[in-house]
Subunit: 252 residues, 2 copies
């Protein structure tokens, strides 16, 4: 360790490297038009003049805790304050900032040379409509995760990891899925929501069997109205039954 | 943002603050003598001459990814390489390094002034015996989490959060518990392991009922030998049955 520190002391550039910058990045996921989407912010590349996209993010400020920085970024991008952000992973590979275009953008945006950049990634699920109103950080775009444009740094990897994290999260806390649905929903709507998040087609018969076995998905007496096809039954999510089940499950 | 950056540029001290240091800290938990313990490393306080304790940790090196730094710290503290470390949370409150004694220690240890310090915390469960052999980073101590000595920074908070994380992890992946047990174990051993991790007494009758309902805890024909009390039956953990169950559970 001493060897390393002594080397550091002698060389200004290397010393800068030993002080990495720390940023937060927010992956906001939502379902739009039956596609899993992520919120991206536009940035104008002053060098090329082109419009580029990135995750909403920022270097942390001097007096901010990490969570505070993440909520500031969320608010700047969406105008929202109340969404629950979950810190899910830090990304700090020395190669994150190795692309020339990314290093150049960082230097312009922050008016200083930035070598190493460790980012703490946050995750939130939100309804697409909710996150549109105010856009303090520039234009925001809900972009299908399957049609991502070129993104800087490791933002694609961060988005992929966030999706994995959400799938794992849903297995532990299936109630998350119901945030995406209206209070009354059809079996088709529920299945499509799962299909979009998991990115795979589900067998219709197995899905119905499984859905009917879930005590917290309750059939109502109401049916779809004014549809051309055979009208489907509405279901609702029963939070009380859900909590009862999950307070017992897996616990010794 | 420009306001902030301009302020930063003018003042050397503040500029240092904008370059926080990034460290990793490892919370290694194990069960020793029927107590949940955490591995602490000793450090000699050059100022007071006293021996103090801290989590094994280090500032990340220039060419290291975060995981690499964490495995280096693990290896330095325990000689082990193969334990699975899980990155679980970053801690970056501006007040982390506000105690004078901590700032003074950092300055001595790293031969430079360190203001803000963001740490990425890792977690591992290990058998206490395993982690003793080699101690490259100084003396290590398995210390009961209920009898922690004075610790620097927010290390107590990090340990508490790691324990919460483990309890949540066990509910999703109960197999973790069986890593702590010999391949043949009694119901008492299993119950005590849960009690130690969850830090609560479990009702014996309910525990047996629950244990018998778990398809992956399988009774064997073998019984304890040479014990003064009535000899107890040995159980084993059936990984195949476990995987079958968990591949179905909670999944649509």
């Amino acid at each position: 360790m001493n060897f390393y520190l002594n080397t550091m002391q002698t060389d200004r550039e290397k010393k800068e490297m030993l002080y990495p910058h720390v940023s937060v990045d927010c992956v906001l996921l939502g379902i739009d038009n039956e596609q899993l989407c992520v919120l991206l912010v536009e940035r104008r590349n002053a060098g090329t003049g082109k419009t580029e996209y990135k995750l909403p993010g920022s270097i942390i400020f001097e007096t901010e805790d990490l969570d505070e920085a993440a909520y500031r970024v969320l608010n700047e991008a969406t105008g929202l304050k109340r969404i629950q952000l979950k810190q899910f992973r830090s990304f700090g590979s020395p190669t994150r900032t190795s692309k020339k275009e990314d290093a150049a953008w960082l230097e312009r945006a922050y008016a200083m040379k930035i070598g190493r950049l460790v980012t703490i990634a946050y995750l939130a699920l939100c309804k697409v409509r909710k996150a549109k109103p105010e856009q303090k950080q520039g234009v925001v775009q809900w972009t299908p995760v399957k049609k991502l444009p070129h993104l800087p740094f490791d933002h694609k990897e961060i988005i992929q990891e966030a999706i994995k994290e959400i799938c794992a999260w849903i297995e532990v806390e299936p109630s998350i899925v119901f945030n995406y649905l209206p209070s009354l929903f059809t079996a088709l709507q529920l299945r499509r929501t799962y299909e979009v998040i998991y990115d795979k087609e589900l067998d219709v018969r197995n899905f119905h069997k499984k859905m009917n076995s879930l005590p917290y998905v309750v059939a109502t007496d109401e049916m779809e109205k004014g549809v051309a096809h055979r009208s489907a039954r509405f279901y609702r999510f029963d939070k009380v039954k859900y909590n009862q089940l999950y307070s017992k499950l897996n616990k010794i």
